[in-house]
Symmetry: C2
Subunit: 327 residues, 2 copies
């Protein structure tokens, strides 16, 4: 197997409909029109995915964590550059399985491969690393930054929080679930659903937005910090799936369990703020995008992010979210 | 040390003059004008650099291998996205040293950091991986592809071939050199010099071009394949530094030594073709760009790349260049 055969035979078909990619026959691609929203996220075996995860799912997760960044800005995805660092001795079938996952999600999200780099570690034991640089077209209204929230704004989140974290615990057998719950939670870990429709729908009136990747509390803190404000989250209003709800119900300390769910990370939901005068617009946008949206708190003067119980008291949070340098 | 402090304190200053980067305060960057020439190259500890290499040099090598791709297309560099995967337990000082190298070359090449991702392996022993996606502005005349060479075109290469490969051998103590030669060869391994000036100067008349990263013979083969032709290289006309020349002179089998030099890789010179009617233009361009350019062969009907001796006979080549899946 040669690096150049792999590029020509496995990756070039993924770039077939991208004019400026020259069928991956050059080191560069021509990207013609702008402006672009661009994001770059890398995923690493043992950190962002499990070393034994099927490689088509890994490829789709790579695409989806990047698409989630575009979704939070209301951007329409166009295509991506890809760098792969494989363990030494990788088999062609593994690369083909990875490319198959890319193809499925390229078709699903209507994006193309623009270019990239394929290389390998010196050792079989070194963890695979995949990095994508994704291009999107900004919404007509311009992208929503993290920094535009105003004191008094409502705080919203899409979908449900905590599933991916529980899915990881299920896969690592740290927690027990019914077969059905385990399957649904594991899928939420493997295949996040980038909230592209709702991201585009709120672009006109959301004052700030961010995707929840590090953990709900941590990312609320990032949004609050950028906006020079404090985010207050009502713990009981955080949306949970049935499976996550039943896990919380099984825990001895309910508030501690709610705090954990709000700091797992890997949710890839969108957290955003909007003035309270826009509540009707949020409802309409959620319906148009066929995406559940929950109001979970509000922005206050101050700083940081706090999780509040039913009486408005702050719940102690052990870790607000994932930090690659602290784990 | 927190991931977010590192981004704010160490990397954000590198993005200070890039308007759309929001001071790295968001997951995305806005890239406004096009068209762009875009390239993406990753470098891996133990493969593209030595695990003990000083991290400022590693950072500069990352920039330069990407800039070399832009140089081969005559593009003017604008800026880049960066993904870092550090070994677990990386020290802040190491990240700062890496950022210092980025800063030096940002100033030298007048480019900015646009955005990126910083993450870490789960283990201390996992190799660092750095990936950059570099943006450039295409030359007015349009980019030179790999595929435009015509039968009869001259084949040229910039600078000198083989230094970086010998530098690596010197650093790994596989070959002995004088102190002076070792230093100059090692620098050519650590700090390739992207040939941006000559790349821009030949954009008007070069029929095909590629940067020499895998090895002169291998990359000549890539250019020839893309153009549907055969590249014939006169071994004795390949430019060599004094240090590389004296290494060749010390080898028992001169032709074997010349073949090795032509397949080391990591040269980051530009290999290009031009019609023989353009010889005067090549000379003028080389002078304007203050870059040595050597005519080393020509394009013929057929396929592949061949190294020829003084009598025009093909020299046996053990390996045409570096292949990440074969090494």
């Amino acid at each position: 197997m040669s690096e150049f055969d792999i590029i020509r035979e496995v990756f070039a078909p993924l770039a077939a409909d991208a004019d400026g990619a020259f069928g991956l026959g050059d080191d560069i691609a021509m990207i013609d029109k702008g402006p672009f929203v661009v994001t770059k996220d890398a995923i690493v075996a043992g950190v962002h995915f499990l070393p034994k995860d099927p490689l088509d799912l890994v490829a789709r997760k790579l695409m989806r964590v990047n698409l989630s960044d575009l979704a939070a800005k209301g951007a329409r995805p166009l295509g991506y550059f890809l760098a792969c660092v494989w363990p030494a001795g990788v088999k062609r079938e593994q690369i083909e399985l990875f490319a198959q996952g890319l193809k499925e999600d390229q078709d699903h999200f209507r994006v193309s491969l623009f270019g990239g780099d394929t290389t390998a570690h010196r050792l079989k034991t070194s963890p695979a690393v995949f990095s994508a640089t994704f291009f999107g077209a900004p919404p007509r209204q311009g992208v929503t930054s993290r920094a535009g929230a105003q004191a008094g704004d409502d705080l919203y989140v899409t979908g449900a929080i905590g599933d991916a974290g529980l899915g990881l615990k299920a896969l690592q057998r740290e927690e027990k679930f019914t077969t059905v719950d385990k399957a649904s939670l594991a899928m939420r870990y493997h295949l996040p659903d980038p909230r592209l429709s709702i991201g585009a729908a709120i672009a006109g009136f959301a004052t700030a937005s961010i995707d929840v990747s590090d953990g709900l509390i941590a990312d609320a803190g990032h949004l609050a910090h950028a906006s020079g404000l404090r985010a207050e989250i009502d713990a009981v209003s955080i949306p949970r799936s049935t499976a996550a709800g039943s896990w919380v119900a099984r825990q001895k300390n309910r508030w501690k369990a709610l705090a954990e769910v709000a700091s797992f990370g890997d949710d890839y939901e969108i957290l955003f703020t909007a003035p309270s005068s826009m509540r009707r617009s949020v409802t309409v946008a959620a319906k148009a995008a066929k995406t559940e949206v929950s109001r979970i708190g509000s922005m206050k003067r101050g700083d940081g992010a706090a999780l509040l119980d039913e009486t408005g008291r702050e719940i102690a949070v052990k870790s607000a979210g994932f930090d690659h340098f602290k784990k």
